[in-house]
Amino acid sequence: MSTCASFAVADFKSDLKPIWCPGCGDFGVLQSIYRALSAIGRAPHEISFVSGIGCSSRIPGYTTAYGFNSVHGRALPIAQGIKLAHPELLVLAAGGDGDGFSIGGGHLPHAIRRNLDITYIVMDNQIYGLTKGQLSPTSPRGLHTASSVFGSLEDPVNPLLYVLGYGARFVAQGTPADMAGLSTLIEAAIRFKGFSFVNVQSPCITFGQPDQQLKAHKAGMTSLASVGHDPTNRIKAMDLAQAYGSTLYTGIFYQDPDAGPTYEEAVETRRTQFSGKPIVPRQRILENFIPR
């Protein structure tokens, strides 16, 4: 079902004007997605792009894909339903750190262990942007926010470590401070056959920490390649992932060299199991209930 025509960045740009704050990191993420999609070459109508709710979750609306800006935290269940119903589609899911690791955090391990061919991009800004600046699950301990005026009392989650622990087969991190790098990562994630996860450090200019903005990213980011990381080594990847919150590593933490079968492939296999077998046509399904 893939199309031969090639698609430019402009083909993925919708008419909706982003309402993000000027300087929000999500602009760069959007650009990187446009670029990655144009490199992939699937037509917009063959792409389904699902998100939850949050500033970041507005992103599908800014693309020409079949978008679904759903409800808070539920991007992954919906994306899995789409992929299972229509496996030929390119399915992207995206959202914020709150959306993905707090209210939606219970869905992530299961999406990963099922291993559908979906790419999940989290725009991690360590804050709740849309609701104007409350603590997010990735906010560092002690952070003062609108909902923690005296400082947070909890350790943050470590999304990189978590997903590696969940057995994710493709785990990467990027920042819009390096848009070329980010679009390459997203492209690689999409090309990866199986569930792929890209954590994007996407600064919130309005409510985020001043030292976590694009400029700081540019100065501080360290490519995993530059530290000689071998992305087929999960244990090493977990070790490096521990630096989440201190060192901003960019690149691929882990990529399974021999990705197993995806869930939708297993489903397909299951189906073919029955092809050729004598099955009562669905119009006559009630005959199955005649006692014999």
Partner: protein, 598 residues
């Protein structure tokens, strides 16, 4: 004398094979062509506790096992009495009991009634003698049934042969012997009080043996559902399990999600991707699904959500049927979110109701809730084979190529239903969302658009209110006394009406399959001739009655007759209340009836 209709109840300890005996009996009934209903009941233990069944076998269609037993079988008294009111013994009941557990001269106390006969039977003894093991006790009982009540001996014997055909020759032979010994014992000890089952004529129509949950799954496949997402919960789990065995064969997918939210989330995704999709659950799961059901309403995505109701609130009583989720089904979403709610009336009707739910969902682009109940979902029934050629299947309204030129997913139309595209369709690209949106799907905070969109989403459901085929009226349509009843209780009401008619009472019964939105006219017409009546349902608050009042001027003389779950109504009660109302109406033309029970 023979009987056209026998109600049997049996109880025993875990390991007595009570359930297996019930299954054998209903299978025999089905093979022969009788109508039948089987319900099972267990102690609180997951395994090994006491168990019981109630089985009704009849020549004509029957709707309930509620009421006094014709035959009671007690393998031991402790376990029998653990089921209390579930196995009601009356003055016409023949009680057969294990002779090893004798009764004193007074006999056991059945709440003060004296049964028609107390018949000890040496079940364990026969089993040990002829089969060498007490395990064959249940097969001996089958033999007794065959002997005393003419209970379809051939079919039972065939059934026993099939059932044990995979076991060793020995086991098969043991059970054959046990059955025959039981039958011989019965024949040797004739029972004056027994009225054996009347033989069927040759015109018995073909039968199927099933339950409401299976009928739901089968109907989904029939309707073209290709995606099921769910999470186990009593008493709905069998829908997922049935589909897990069958849907794959028809090219569909069954997705056991991590919770109910993910289950319905995946269903919304599959629907967005263009597929007919379903989820099923019970009360607690419905509560969790509320948010995503609201999303489906505003995103105008078709889906079917089945709630097999159980006793509530909260975890409540999972194993008992109730009808107390009407409020929730109609109103759990925040905002002005109206969604159709259907309820099946019988096990067989669960098939039609599910097909209807898919049709409405696809045609009107809305989630549809099916309010089944534990009774319909789990009781086994022998019913007539349903002719599926009478169903039309409705597919969603795809955009034409012209419409795709300037595609507007939420275009205002006469009917309120807009053409719906799906991923993969060039030109149909749009943004689905839970945010209020304009016709093109773009987010908006405009009050004017919001008002129009609310109007559109609600208006498109109006045609349902004229769907008279979603209502059935029984009895005399001009009667001055009437009942409204729904779900499994409507079967009890049908039998109650029948009995009332036998008492000379002229009455009528309205059974809605459309629970919400309320078809005001249908009720107005039904109520027009009434001078008395009631809405009878299995909930503490009488929830349908209350919802009716929201839209219909229910006459004062029509009262709510409501009762919490795990307290079944019986046809006799309903007939008697109808008779009381009729008598009161005769005495007092103004019809101000004080209810006997409320």
């Amino acid at each position: 004398m023979t009987s056209d209709d026998i109600l049997i109840g049996m109880a025993g300890a875990g390991g007595d094979g009570v359930i297996s005996a019930g299954d054998s009996l209903i299978t025999a009934a089905a093979l022969t062509g009788y109508h039948a209903i089987l319900t099972k009941s267990f102690g609180p233990q997951i395994r090994g506790g006491e168990s019981s069944f109630k089985l009704r076998v009849a020549k004509a269609e029957v709707f309930t096992v509620a009421g006094t037993l014709d035959v009671a079988v007690a393998l031991n008294w402790d376990d029998f009495f653990r089921f209390g009111a579930e196995l009601p013994v009356g003055p016409k009941t023949i009680v057969i009991y294990e002779a090893d557990h004798p009764v004193g001269p007074e006999g056991p106390k059945f709440g003060g009634v004296r049964p028609a006969a107390m018949v000890p039977a040496p079940v364990a003894k026969i089993a040990k003698e002829v089969a060498g093991t007490e395990k064959a006790k249940n097969t001996v009982v089958l033999g007794l049934m065959a002997g005393w009540f003419g209970f379809i001996p051939d079919a039972l014997l065939t059934g026993i042969r099939k059932k044990f055909s995979k076991k060793s020759e020995d086991v098969l032979a043991q059970n054959e012997r046990a059955f025959l010994a039981g039958r011989e014992y019965a024949e040797a000890h004739p029972l004056a009080e027994a009225q054996p089952l009347a033989p069927l004529g040759t015109d018995a129509s073909p039968k199927i043996l099933t339950d409401g949950n299976e009928m739901c799954g089968a109907a989904a496949i029939f309707a073209g559902c290709s995606f099921f997402g769910g999470y186990p919960i009593t008493p709905s789990t069998e829908i997922m399990q049935y589909l897990g065995r069958e849907l794959w064969k028809y090219g569909g997918v069954v997705f056991q999600a991590e919770d109910e939210i993910a289950g319905v989330g995946a269903v919304v995704g599959a629907s967005f991707a263009g597929k007919k999709a379903m989820t099923a659950t019970s009360g607690p799961g419905m509560s969790l699904k509320s948010e995503i059901l609201g999303l489906a309403t505003i995103a105008e995505l078709p889906l079917v959500c089945v709630n097999v109701q159980r006793g509530g609130p909260s975890t409540g009583i999972p194993t008992k049927s109730e009808q107390s989720d009407v409020f929730q089904a109609a109103f759990s979403a925040h905002g002005d979110a109206v969604r159709p709610v259907l309820a099946p009336t019988t096990v067989a009707d669960m098939f039609a109701t599910t097909v209807e739910a898919f049709n409405i969902a696809e045609e009107l682009q809305t989630p549809v809730i099916i309010l089944s109940d534990g009774d319909i979902g789990q009781r086994k029934e022998v019913v007539d084979l349903i002719d599926t050629s009478r169903f039309t299947l409705i597919e969603r309204r795809k955009p034409t190529s012209l419409e795709l030129e300037h595609y507007q997913r939420f275009a205002m139309t006469e009917s309120g239903v807009s053409p719906i595209s799906e991923p993969g369709m060039p030109g149909g690209n749009y943004l689905a969302s839970g945010i209020e949106h304009n016709e093109a799907g773009a987010p908006t905070a405009s009050g004017a658009i919001h008002a129009r969109m609310n109007e559109k989403r609600i208006k498109k459901l109006s045609p349902l209110k004229s769907r008279r085929d979603l209502f059935e009226v029984f009895g005399d349509p001009k009667a001055a006394i009437g009942v409204v009843s729904w779900g499994s209780v409507s079967g009890v009401a049908r039998e109650g009406l029948r009995q009332a008619e036998q008492l000379g009472v002229s009455a009528k019964l309205l059974v809605p399959r459309l629970i919400y939105p309320i078809a005001q006219q249908v009720y107005d017409e039904f109520f027009a001739s009434l001078r008395g009546g009631f809405v009878v349902e299995q909930s503490h608050q009488g929830q349908l009655y209350r919802v009716l009042r929201m839209y219909v001027d229910v006459p004062r003389s029509v009262e709510s007759w409501a009762r919490s779950g795990s307290n079944p109504f019986t046809p006799v009660e309903i007939a008697e209340r109808l008779r009381d109302i009729a008598m009161a109406a005769q005495r007092n033309q103004s019809g101000n009836h004080e209810p006997a029970i409320d």
